[in-house]
């Protein structure tokens, strides 16, 4: 019998309670990137995403993530981030900034809003001013920046690694 055999439909890992993690996205240039973020976030057990502008999900990319996720559309992020902060969420930007901490050694609080910037412009100062902390991902080679959906995947992976749930 071969040691490794492909499994097509593995059981998901169970969470004892819904993840208290929210993903909040600045207005994105690309609905492809937003759709990719939705799919990955849904796979990670996130159920609430905040988006700005005129988000339109591509169901071929977001897949069943569309059904799992509540997508809240806002005009801008600062008011909703202020409200979530008052509810006890840590507001964490994913960005390259002064004072940014390295994702490799960052300890997430479980109740977190992960704030994602625009592909070109990043997070505007009014949003940066609402953040408790900023996390960044080391780069080692050209083009010296991760795609926004890729960076979000890495941050979501790191959060899940710290709050892994219980294997079934």
């Amino acid at each position: 019998m071969p040691k490794f055999e492909h499994l097509r439909h593995k059981q998901p890992t169970r969470l004892s309670k819904p993840r208290p993690l929210i993903v909040a996205c600045a207005p994105m240039r690309s609905n492809v990137n937003l759709s990719r973020i939705v799919r990955t976030a849904a796979c990670c057990g996130v159920t609430r995403i905040i988006a700005c502008g005129k988000p339109k999900l591509d169901p071929k990319i977001a897949r069943d993530g569309v059904a799992e996720i509540t997508l809240e559309v806002r005009r801008s992020l600062p008011p909703v981030l202020a409200k979530l902060k008052s509810e006890g969420y840590a507001i964490v930007g994913l960005e390259q900034t002064t004072q940014a901490e390295n994702l490799h050694t960052f300890r997430f609080e479980e109740q977190t809003v992960l704030v994602i910037g625009n592909e070109r412009l990043g997070l505007e100062q009014a949003v940066l001013d609402t953040l408790d902390r900023v996390v960044e991902i080391p780069v080692y080679g050209m083009p010296f920046s991760y795609n926004v959906a890729t960076a979000t995947s890495m941050a979501l992976y790191e959060y899940c690694r710290q709050f892994p749930g219980s294997p079934q």
Copy 2:
């Protein structure tokens, strides 16, 4: 002065030697996914990618990763994986299989070939039979599978977390 200010061109993290990490991809359905893998791998300091089939990189997606990476095209993976194993590389599949280990707690050997499966078909048995270990990423919600480029990003992030280089 604001606490967090956007930095557009941050210094990359320096590696004291080239990463002894190779990414090997089964024939992919989508050159978009392959191009995304190339961009992310290049940002992670990977310089050697093996691809099968008729890979065609989209420079708008792969960006400067195209210039940084040596893309070797092979007819199939088993012969080159056998050769790399004989050179001392650990051959690690990224897949859902029997005996797969959880990426959250997986310890990479530094000299590793990370083997990526096709979007639909995964890795064929002839490739699975060449692997030393298989690593998988927990999923928590629908659609219960990460996009292949997303999963690769998470595995590359975890490898870099374990071999982080020296911040400049």
